[in-house]
């Protein structure tokens, strides 16, 4: 101390701004320098408009100087996954299909951040249309894990997690359809929250799977994550799936005692999965023992349909995606093939040339499970199995306050390791998918490192709209273990 500005958390930056210790332009300059220095290796950012970022910061400084700060967070920078629309900024979803697309409107979360005065710094890399678990499916470039550049950062919000881990922004937004916030958070050693479905508006989030997608925060402290969740949550009239639940002051849950509460360990997540890495198991069990030492009761719980989560997820998610991505056709915006002979041919060629492999594969799968003759056997059955998975969780939460589980079965795997085997890649989401299917919230936070120096994370899952309990437990763990404040050497 004093740390460089780029090293500070959002809460620290906010305090410094209020005390007049530095200005927003100082923060933005520090971050831009940091990005210049490290992002050539990491590849977290897809786009930054430096002049615009500095202009936003100057406007924030002027407001604060005039006593007209929009909020405590006025002037604090943030970067967004490139699937979240900001008016006048590119929105590419890391796809060739949208390489020249500039959003003519703001997502609700962007509006809320603007209303709070945050500087919208840049656009973060991702798996194309959020389809992937490694950010290797970006059509632009891969993002590398800041802890080990031979490894993937996780995905699909790989840029969001890596940028925070590499100190290229204090906090960021990602989106989580089947673990796309929690899994990269785990692999990059940061905190990530998938809010309850309906907690955060999806207006302006390019849809992957509408009934599963949620926007959420990634940060280097539980406090930052809680504060960002407060900023973006709430019922939105533009999103019919947004739920009119009151938004609590999440930061009030921080530091609340956990003594006497019950932590459930889903037995299927620890016993059954042969894929669970022993080092991961060890680190996650250590986290469980931490809560035991804090006076919590550990309870084994049964999630009998856990093994169906992956097939159910890949049927539901791809079905919805096959329809959601129908709009990318080269007609109104986006990539248009120059080789089309007529309007119908324009579709075949624009979509054939504009989408990457994984996106095409998933559209194919989703088209198939909805097609005539297969709907009942795949899609309808998966929807019913989804009901069973949800009721498994409902029963579990009759016994316990939160569930504790590994976020991912292994630490970050090596680049290229799973690219030829889509099914192996799908299985990497095995622990994160169920929360999306059930709609419940989850938080991933770091709980140690592998022998090879890669971060390991665990997740806490809670009842719908009970993010406060997750934050209470997470802050309790963080107080004793500050893994998220450790940064890789870059």
């Amino acid at each position: 101390m004093p740390e460089a500005l780029y090293q500070q958390t959002a809460t620290e930056l906010q305090q410094g701004l209020q005390e007049g210790a530095f200005k927003s332009v100082d923060i933005v300059r520090s971050l831009l320098e940091r990005i210049d220095a490290v992002d050539g290796d990491i590849g977290a950012y897809l786009h930054i408009d430096k002049a615009d970022a500095l202009a936003q910061a100057e406007a924030a400084d002027a407001r604060r100087a005039g006593g007209k700060a929009l909020s405590d967070w006025d002037g604090v920078p943030i970067s967004l996954k490139d699937a979240i629309a900001v008016k006048g900024q590119p929105l590419t979803c890391a796809s060739r299909m949208l390489e020249n697309f500039v959003s003519p409107y703001d997502s609700t979360v962007a509006s809320k951040l603007k209303d709070a005065g945050c500087v919208l710094l840049g656009r973060l890399n991702m798996d194309e249309f959020a389809m992937g678990s490694s950010t290797e499916n970006s059509a632009v470039k891969p993002t590398l894990n800041p802890w080990n550049k031979e490894c993937i950062p996780g995905g699909s919000s790989g840029g969001s997690a890596a940028s925070v881990a590499a100190l290229e922004c204090p906090w960021s937004l990602g989106s989580d359809t089947g673990g796309s916030i929690r899994q990269p958070a785990s692999h990059c050693g940061v905190v990530g929250i998938k809010p309850t479905y309906g907690r955060v508006s999806r207006w302006g989030l390019a849809a992957f799977a509408s009934s599963l997608d949620q926007i959420g925060p990634l940060a280097r402290s539980v406090e930052d994550a809680a504060a960002l969740l407060e900023l973006i949550s709430g019922k939105d009239n533009r999103d019919s799936t947004s739920v009119p639940e009151p938004v609590p002051a999440f930061r009030k849950a921080l530091g609340q005692p956990v003594k006497g509460l019950k932590v459930g360990l889903p037995k299927q997540y620890f016993d059954n999965s042969e894929g669970l890495d022993p080092e991961v198991r060890e680190a996650v069990m250590a986290a469980a023992r931490h809560f035991e030492s804090e006076g919590c009761e550990l309870v084994e719980v049964d999630l009998p349909h856990a093994d169906l989560a992956v097939p159910v997820y890949y049927i539901v998610a791809t079905a919805e995606a096959s329809s959601n991505l129908g709009r990318y056709d080269g007609v109104r915006y986006g990539y248009r093939s120059a080789n089309a002979s007529d309007a119908i041919d324009l579709y075949y060629k624009s979509r054939g040339e504009g989408f990457g492999e994984e996106v095409k594969r998933r559209i194919m799968l989703g088209t198939y499970v909805l097609s005539s003759g297969y709907y009942d056997a795949y899609y309808l059955k998966a929807q019913k199995a989804r009901s069973l998975i949800r009721s498994d969780f409902a029963k579990a939460f009759e016994q316990v306050d939160v569930l504790l589980a590994p976020t991912a079965p292994t630490p970050a795997f090596r680049r290229g390791e799973n690219t030829e085997d889509p099914l192996a890649m799908y299985l990497a989401d095995i622990f994160t998918i169920p929360a999306n299917l059930a709609g419940i919230p989850g938080i991933s936070l770091p709980c140690g490192f592998s022998k090879s120096g890669l971060p390991i994370g665990f997740q806490l899952l809670g009842k719908s709209f009970d993010e406060a309990s997750l934050l209470r437990f997470a802050s309790n763990f963080e107080a004793a273990h500050s893994f998220a404040r450790q940064s890789p050497e870059l």
């Binding site: 009934s211 097939p311 049927i315």
Partner: protein
């Protein structure tokens, strides 16, 4: 479902309006069939009497009053259009789809 665990890649690609190269078709075919095989885990599941779940949260009647707002000006609506004329989007000639 076992005998179904094969995807007619040509038919599905046509439904999805995606042109695939011969090489893509072959690779996808193997990969997708393996995924479909994995989906057979669902076969054994008894779902009789179970309601399908289309939404993560059970909400109803999420509607709005009939009030019009200013939307896009034509320039905004067409700002990202690949080709336009007279404030409309140009598409290649539409021939009836067989």
């Amino acid at each position: 479902m076992s005998e179904n665990a094969h995807m007619d890649v040509d038919y599905v690609a046509r439904l999805a309006r995606i042109e695939l190269s011969a090489e893509e078709k072959e690779r996808f075919s193997g990969q997708l069939d393996r995924i479909l095989e994995y989906f057979e885990k669902l076969n054994a599941l008894d779902v009789s009497g179970v309601e399908p779940m289309a939404h993560a949260m059970p909400l109803y009647n999420v509607w709005r009053e009939d009030e019009a707002e200013m939307g896009f000006a034509p320039e905004e609506a067409l700002a990202n259009a690949p080709a336009q004329r007279d404030n409309q989007i140009i598409v290649p000639k539409v021939v009836d789809d067989a």
